[in-house]
Each structure stands twice: as structure tokens, then as C-alpha cells.
Amino acid sequence: MNRSISYGALVAGACLAGSALAQTPAAAPAPAPSWQQGRSADQSSSTLHPIAPILTGRPASELPTDKLKVPAGFKVEVYADGIPEARSLALGDKGTVFVSNRNLKDVYAITDQGGKRTVTKVLKGLNAPNGVAFKDGTLYVAERHRITAYDGIEDRLATPPEARVVIDNLDPQQQAGHFWKFLAMGPDGKLYYNVGAPGNIVMPAYYQATINRVDPKTGVTEVYASGVRNSVGFDWDPRTKELWFTNHARDWVSDDTPEDTLHRAARKGMNFGYPFCHQGDLLDPDFGKGRACGEFDAPAARLGAHIAPLGLRFYTGSMFPAEYRNGMFIAMHGSWNRTSKQGYNVMHASVGRDGKVTLKPFLEGFLQDAKADPPMWGRPVDVLVMKDGALLVSDDYNGIVYRVSYAK
């Protein structure tokens, strides 16, 4: 498809050059916005569109939080509001919860003193600071173009230290599409981050559509996994130390394909198929010709089409019943590129001895009307296991963090 279009343009250009030299050449067509890229001609009047967050945030008191539903024995409450576009979550050694932004520029800290919580904007003026990770007293932040470290920040939230650059120049071309980064500290002491595909369905450069790792001591980076369209959530199995991650499949194929996926990267160097193969068995209509899905590493599970899995964490706490331990919580941001919307919840995924993944709803109630626009009043982004075993869930649409706890 792409090839024939550019060939057509070349022919047209040649004809123009021969016949109408005096005319001003037409400007090169601007690329479609990345969310529209790959849309077919007969989809061009589609009213499906990504859903923008409410950038002021909304007070929890104005929202139907009583509609939230958790399994029997669990309780969900508002942990903190007033954190516009609350995205990724990281837990400090002393209990501070750090919360990131994507379209905005800030990192917030939630502190809790005897149940009284305070929300403070601790970092400002950052460039799409979507990724946050914490290790040994240092907060790491992944912006669009760099990863920085803030040493000892928990002791000086009011006067945070200057950023120490871990690695710079992560976005040398100001890439389109998925420019925001998730960040997590691996069991090997290296920081893992994604570099998303620069569009919906395009041929990525070698460093794009990857999960990478950087050694914070040396700044040396390497590609860890490739063929990953965009992963905005990963964690390591506490038993095997293997990396698990969520991945968003391409849009504009159909309502039900391809499905978004959950992956296990048992070692460095695996390739999960983008842009050639999606969901393990669906060759891409444009890029898949002449390729086979067998060339690539298969997903561990399919999660649903356009369901938008984001944050993923293994449950390592002791508060929840035993069946939750060592399973994963996955935040589903929810679909936009689908006629009838789905997701907008937190699922629990457990992995059987045979490797089969079983998914069960854990936190629901954000979705109001699957056919409405917008279909929901809130959108889960990330999950975080607290020291007491409770689970925090961020919501970027409203700028709220919820807490799910369990009492026998």
C-alpha cells in the first residue's frame, strides 16, 4: 500500500516536472497524525478517536467512585486526587509514592503521615516525564529524550536535587507516535525503558519498537527485546527474574483484531514481531507479505483488541489472599479504536504450570456505556504494590490514585 502510493507520487511528480515547470510544486503532504496513520481510505470518515485526559484533573468528590467494583473481601477507596494526568507510579524507600505525567510536565509525590496524605509537585518543566522508578534512595525519571536521577529526593521533597543525567539523546529525531517511556529497575540493577514505534504501523528504525536497558553506573545501553510496538508496563517475575511486559497492537485493522498482548522475555534478544506479525499469528496486511509469524517469539497471552494494557506488576504483598500472590495485575487503559469499547479496568493474570495465563477482572466500574463517547469516567494507567500489600491504581483521565485493600 505505502509503496504503491509513493510510486504513484513519483510518476505524478515526473509528469508535472515535464509539463508544468513554471508552477510552484505542491507542498509535500504532511503526515497524518500518528493515531490516524495506517487508516484505510474507507475508514477515513470514522469517528473513532483517542480520548484526551482532563488536564486540570477532577476532584474525586465529583465522580461516581461508588460505582467501582472489587471482588468480595476487597475495598477500594480514593488514595489521593489533585494529581492531573496521573500516569506511572513508583514507591520510595520511605513510603513516598511518586506519580508521573505524559502530556503535562510534572512529577508529584504523595506522602502519608498517619493516614493524612499530602500531594506535592516535586519536579516541574520536564518533557513528557511518563516513566518513574525508585531504587536505593534515588528516583529515576524517563522523559521523552532522557533518563535522569534524583538522589536522596525523599529526604528533600520541598527542595529536590538537580537532575543527574543517566542517559541523554533518546529521541534524536523528535519521533512521531509513541514517544513516551515507561521505566523500571530490573533485578540486574539496570533501568529498562521502551522506545515505541514512531507511528501506528510503520517500519521502525533499529532502536525503535524495542525495550532497552541502560546501566545507570556506566550509561551503556543495549536493546533487550525488539518487535515491540509499544510497551508501557513491565515487571519481573519474583521467582524466575524473567521480564514480563504488556504491548499495544496496531490500530485500524478491525474491531476484534489484532489483540493486545502480554509477553514473557526469558532472555535478551527476543523479537516479538512488529511490524510484521501481531498477536502471534496475524500477519500484518501491509508489512506481513513474505513473512511468517513463526519467525518471531509468540506472546504469552492475548488480552483483547484495543484494550490498551499499560501498567503491569507482580503481586508480592501479603495482604491479599494466596491466590493473588505471584500473579500479575494489569491496568487496561481501555479502547478507542473499537466501535464498542472495552477495558477500562484492572485485571489479575495468573500463570499456570503449563504457562497458560488466566485473566480475571479485579477493579471495574469505570466503563459506563461502551457505545458512548467518552464511554467511561476514568481510565486506569498503572498499578503499584505498597509495603502493606495494598494495591494503588492511577487514573490519568481524572488525576486520581485509588487504593485497593483486603480485609478477611
Binding site: A32, P33, S44
Partner: protein
């Protein structure tokens, strides 16, 4: 009702100076405010600095100044946040938005969204209206701006907007100089000729 309460003017000399320097603002202050049908007194007081340029209840009578009345709340709040953060650039708006809290921005959004939209410019001749409608359909404006071009969520209402403002925004998008959160309008404006922009601005401003 005073249009610009002295308490507000005292609170920021810089903002006051910016406004005082604006002939547009002075012109607007000369017009008298009608009693508001929607909104609380507190909201009207908060909105007073806006009304100085954007017109009574946000219905602009000034060429380059957009109407805010009847815009979707999320459009108003998104733009105010982006002015405050410096992503969208305009010296007057950046200065006015700088001190606003999220709650204040949200309140302003509620107030202006609740006002009835400005009356449309006088109806166009059939051929001009047909040309405008044809362009709107060809470009797919309704896909995002809604069937009646009244906006939705973070997408602005275009119907009845000031034509001069629409023209300036479209030229800015075409030039790639107008802030664009998701790249939609920059892409959409690329094929437009100056004549197309004129046709669109005129057509949209005449829509009820």
C-alpha cells in the same frame, strides 16, 4: 457588575499592564455587561478578566478574539492549561493563565461552557455556503468537531466563531506554528490554500 474588579487588577500589575496596553480590552470594557443567565457570582468575578477581551459571557465582538461561550468545557480547560504551561504561545494569554490553579481553570471552563454561544455572522449567499459545506465535508471536519461543528470533549466549537480568529488559527496550523497537542490540525491544514482558509473561516462563522 464591574467588568474588571479592582481587587483583581491590584493582584497583578503585570497582567493589568498587559491588558491596559491592549486597545481591544479598552474597547471591550466600554461595552456594558448584560445580566448573566448562567453561572454564579463567584464564577462571573473569576471570568471578569476574560470578558474584558472575550466579550460579555464570552461572546466576542472583537475581530481576532475568539468567543468562549458555548465551547466544550474540556476544550477551554485544556487550552488554559496549555497557555499556563507555555505550550501554546500568546503573550497575553500566557500571562493571564500563569497564576491560575487547576480548580480556577476548571471553574472558568464550567462558566463559559454554560453560556449560550455567540450569534452567527449573517447568513451567507447560497454559493458561498455551498462552497464552505463542500470543503467541510471533503476535509472531514465533522469527524472531530461534531456533526454541527459545535465541538466535543477537548475539540473546539467552530460554529459562530470569529472568522478572523479562525483564519489566524488555520494559517498557524498550516505553517506549523500553532500549538497542536496531537498533530491533527497541523496535518489537516496542510492541503488548504489561502482561498480555502477564507472560505472555511467565512462559512464556519456563519453557522448557528
Amino acid at each position: 457588575m464591574t467588568i474588571a474588579p479592582t481587587r483583581w487588577r491590584r493582584s497583578s500589575r503585570r497582567r493589568g499592564r498587559l491588558l491596559a496596553q491592549s486597545a481591544l480590552a479598552v474597547a471591550a470594557m466600554a461595552s456594558c455587561a448584560a445580566a448573566s443567565a448562567a453561572g454564579t457570582d463567584a464564577q462571573r468575578e473569576k471570568a471578569a478578566p476574560c470578558i474584558a477581551c472575550h466579550g460579555d459571557e464570552g461572546r466576542s465582538v472583537l475581530a481576532e478574539i475568539p468567543s468562549l461561550a458555548g465551547q466544550p468545557k474540556q476544550f477551554i480547560t485544556t487550552q488554559l492549561v496549555m497557555f499556563r504551561e507555555g505550550n501554546r504561545k500568546n503573550p497575553v494569554m500566557n500571562a493571564l493563565a500563569a497564576p491560575l490553579s487547576n480548580a480556577e481553570i476548571s471553574e472558568l471552563g464550567s462558566y463559559f461552557a454554560a453560556q449560550s454561544a455567540a450569534p452567527a455572522a449573517k447568513p451567507l449567499a447560497a454559493d458561498a455556503a455551498g462552497a464552505g459545506r463542500g470543503l467541510v465535508e471533503k476535509l472531514g471536519c465533522v469527524t472531530c468537531h461534531g456533526a454541527e461543528l459545535k465541538g466535543q470533549q477537548h475539540i473546539p466549537r467552530l460554529a459562530g466563531q470569529r472568522p478572523e480568529y479562525l483564519r489566524t488559527q488555520l494559517l498557524g496550523f498550516k505553517a506549523g506554528t500553532r500549538f497542536d497537542m496531537d498533530g491533527n490540525m497541523t496535518a489537516a491544514a496542510q492541503p488548504l490554500t489561502p482561498a480555502d482558509i477564507e472560505t472555511l473561516a467565512t462559512y464556519l462563522s456563519a453557522l448557528p
